[in-house]
């Protein structure tokens, strides 16, 4: 198994764990954290390809990850603000109960 | 401007830092066990009993077990038992003496009221403050023997007050002798006359012992 394959498998596994957390847990914060984990898995891929795959421009992978981290930060900020707003409305963080917008 | 107050404060602390090295007014710590504090003469701690003769402390106690201090003590830390017999006091007059005189220093609050009410100048305030002990009960209950200290000691700790007391006592004694002499003369003159009452001891209710 080449290093690239190892990295990709690690990334896939991390993505799956993130997915499981996001799907199975009902707490909004945990769901958000699961999504962050999935983002991290994607970033892992960028770095893996940048490092172990020839042909890419020298810094593209790194720059992609930097952008992704920045976007993730923005996403987390907004997401947690939503969590707090959600909490203020229904006094808990159970996403199943956040159905007010359903028609 | 923001920060000027803070800078002013920093200046004060810096001044104190430097001052603590050369200015005794800014460095007031006494390193206690090595350097003993200079106690003012008025300093009071726990009471002690005055005796006139250091060689026979219990025999020359001024206390006549009148129990006024026991009664007046606010926290009631004094316990006195009168003797059944009488012993001659310093003037040679037979007096009741305290068979038991105990002060519970764990209760005593050093208020000095016993000293103020004592008509005999028998109880005074001590200056020993290093009274720490590992025993909470027996060691803090001082008995007659532990409480008794000679008049010379009283002179070393409260010289002014002791001199006054001695002068007053000497005057009292002289007056008593004078009176006794007069009474003896009168008795000689009128053998049938009834026995004169013993010279009343100077009441000191209105003259606190520290009056100028």
């Amino acid at each position: 198994m080449s290093p690239l394959q190892g990295c990709l498998l690690l990334s896939a596994a991390l993505f799956s764990v993130g997915l499981v957390i996001a799907l199975a847990r009902s707490n909004a914060i945990l769901v958000l954290l699961g999504i962050e984990l999935m983002l991290n898995a994607a970033n892992l891929n960028f770095i893996a390809f940048w490092r172990f795959h020839s042909g890419a421009a020298p810094a593209t992978g790194v720059i992609f990850v930097l952008f992704a981290i920045a976007v993730a930060a923005a996403e987390a900020a907004v997401g947690l603000a939503l969590v707090i707003a959600l909490y203020r409305h229904q006094k808990n963080l159970r996403l199943q109960e956040a159905t007010r917008l359903r028609g | 401007m923001l920060g000027s107050g803070i800078l002013q404060g920093l200046l004060v602390t810096a001044k104190n830092f430097v001052g603590s090295f050369h200015d005794p007014a800014r460095y007031t710590t006494l390193e206690y066990p090595e350097v003993k504090p200079a106690l003012p003469e008025a300093y009071r701690n726990f009471p002690f009993l005055v005796c006139d003769n250091a060689t026979d402390p219990l025999g020359t106690l001024r206390c006549v077990a009148c129990q006024i201090c026991e009664k007046e003590c606010p926290p009631q830390c004094i316990y006195i038992e009168k003797s059944r017999d009488k012993k001659p006091d310093a003037t040679g007059k037979p007096q009741i003496y305290p068979a038991v005189f105990a002060i519970d220093t764990s209760v005593c609050m050093s208020c000095q009221i016993c000293v103020e009410v004592c008509p005999f100048d028998a109880i005074k305030m001590d200056q020993v403050f290093e009274v720490a002990t590992t025993d909470r009960y027996a060691a803090l209950l001082l008995d007659r023997g532990q409480l008794t200290k000679p008049n010379t000691y009283f002179h070393t700790i409260h010289p002014t007050e002791a001199a006054e007391v001695d002068a007053r006592l000497a005057a009292d004694r002289q007056a008593a002798e004078e009176k006794a002499r007069v009474a003896a003369l009168a008795k000689a003159k009128a053998p049938a006359a009834p026995q004169a009452p013993a010279a009343p001891v100077a009441k000191r209710d209105q003259t606190p012992e520290s009056a100028p």
């Binding site: - | 401007m1 920060g3 602390t13």
Partner: protein
């Protein structure tokens, strides 16, 4: 110049490196790197461990003198053995863990804190030849390494199962989020002007003297002076020192996140606080005070690490002095101070530094203009923002009946 060249690489200067090489030289080739690193780690641990020990003593002594009392002076000559007595006491004291505590986190918090607070030392250039790890991204590494400290404080506060500790944990989080920003932003101008994130290169960029006696330290430029002050203020907050010691505010929260700690764990917290203080002061020396550079060319014969240590000690004394003087801020004031005062000032300072480096070519009278503009860019916002910050609170005059 020749004399300088001779003295800058004197025997004393190279002594620590020589000592390391003598030891590692006896080892087989493949072990040398590992052994060298290990030696560096031991040297840093021993050096700063000793500094920590005597800093606690110095703090108590200086605080004592400022407060007109002697400070600890019973253990050993002038109390010199006090830190060791304290250490023995901390080691032998009972380790109490509250019944409801999260035992794992309660144990991990001090360990993580000490470990993390030590990481920053790796990239500090203590001397001309003394830097444990040469990193291209050293400054970034330093601040990344420091981020976990407040996380550990949070762990301690939360795991203690104590309401005061929990309040302290919340305060610690709020404080970190607020002060990480000005701390980083006050460093950016230096990176901008020096054009590098490497600490050694930043120190090298501050070498040399103008007019023969003014060193090219960043603190001697308008933006650098402002940046230095801003950095130190944020560093005070980051290391939880008075007047920003809210997480362990003694008069309000008993001991905050430390309330339920005793014995050696408590000592570890203490140690981490001082390590953090040393690391941040070391960074300030590196970024603004010319690192290991001597203030005068004539003094270059003194080894560079001595200069670094001297500057470090001066900053640490400043920490102690401030602690002895100032009252504590309240949480909302702390936040207001960070967001409404420090952050705008650091941003303006960044612009100021950018302007400074753009106008580097100006000479003659233009140079004066450059200084005037830069000074104005520091002073005017300070006065204006300071006025708005302290609006509504001023000394009052009183009437008498």
């Amino acid at each position: 110049m020749i004399a300088a060249a001779l003295t800058t690489d004197s025997f004393l200067e190279r002594l620590p490196v020589l000592a390391r090489d003598t030891v590692t030289g006896r080892l087989p080739e493949s072990w040398r790197w590992m052994a060298g690193s290990l030696l560096e780690i031991i040297a840093i641990l021993a050096g700063f461990g000793l500094l920590f020990a005597y800093l606690t003593l110095a703090e108590r002594k200086i605080l004592g003198r400022i407060q007109n009392r002697p400070g600890p002076n019973r253990t050993g000559w002038f109390g010199l053995l006090q830190p060791f007595a304290d250490g023995v006491k901390a080691l032998t004291k009972e380790d109490v863990v509250p019944a409801g505590a999260d035992r794992v986190l309660h144990f991990l918090a001090p360990v993580v804190l000490v470990a993390v607070s030590l990481l920053g030392f790796a990239v500090l250039p203590f001397g001309r030849h003394l830097v444990a790890v040469e990193l291209d991204t050293a400054v970034l590494y330093f601040f990344a390494a420091g981020t976990a400290t407040e996380l550990a404080v949070f762990m301690a506060g939360w795991a203690s199962h104590n309401k005061y500790s929990l309040l302290a944990a919340m305060r610690a989080l709020a404080q970190l989020i607020s002060y990480e920003l000005p701390l980083l932003l006050s460093v950016v101008p230096v990176v901008l002007v020096a054009g590098t994130l490497s600490t050694t290169k930043i120190v090298a960029a501050q070498g040399g003297w103008s007019l023969g006696f003014v060193p090219h330290w960043h603190v001697f430029t308008p933006w650098g002076a402002a940046g230095f002050v801003l950095f130190m203020v944020a560093a005070l907050a980051e290391s939880n020192r008075s007047p920003f010691d809210l997480p362990e505010a003694e008069s309000e929260l008993i001991a905050g996140h430390l309330t339920e700690y005793s014995g050696f764990k408590y000592a570890l917290f203490f140690m981490a606080e001082y390590f953090g203080m040393c690391a941040l002061s070391g960074m300030a020396v590196t970024l603004f005070l010319g690192g290991w550079g001597a203030p005068l060319a004539q003094l270059e014969w003194i080894p560079s690490y001595a200069w670094f240590t001297a500057k470090l000690l001066v900053l640490l004394l400043g920490f102690i002095w401030i602690r002895a003087t100032l009252p504590r801020l309240r949480l909302d004031q702390l936040m207001k101070f960070a967001w409404k005062f420090l952050v705008p000032l650091t941003l303006l300072n960044l612009a100021n530094a950018a302007g400074w480096s753009l106008t580097a070519g100006w000479t003659g009278p233009l140079q004066l203009v450059r200084w005037a503009v830069a000074l104005a860019l520091v002073a005017v916002p300070f006065v204006v923002l300071g006025r708005t910050l302290s609006a509504g609170s001023a000394p009052r005059t009183y009437r008498f009946a």
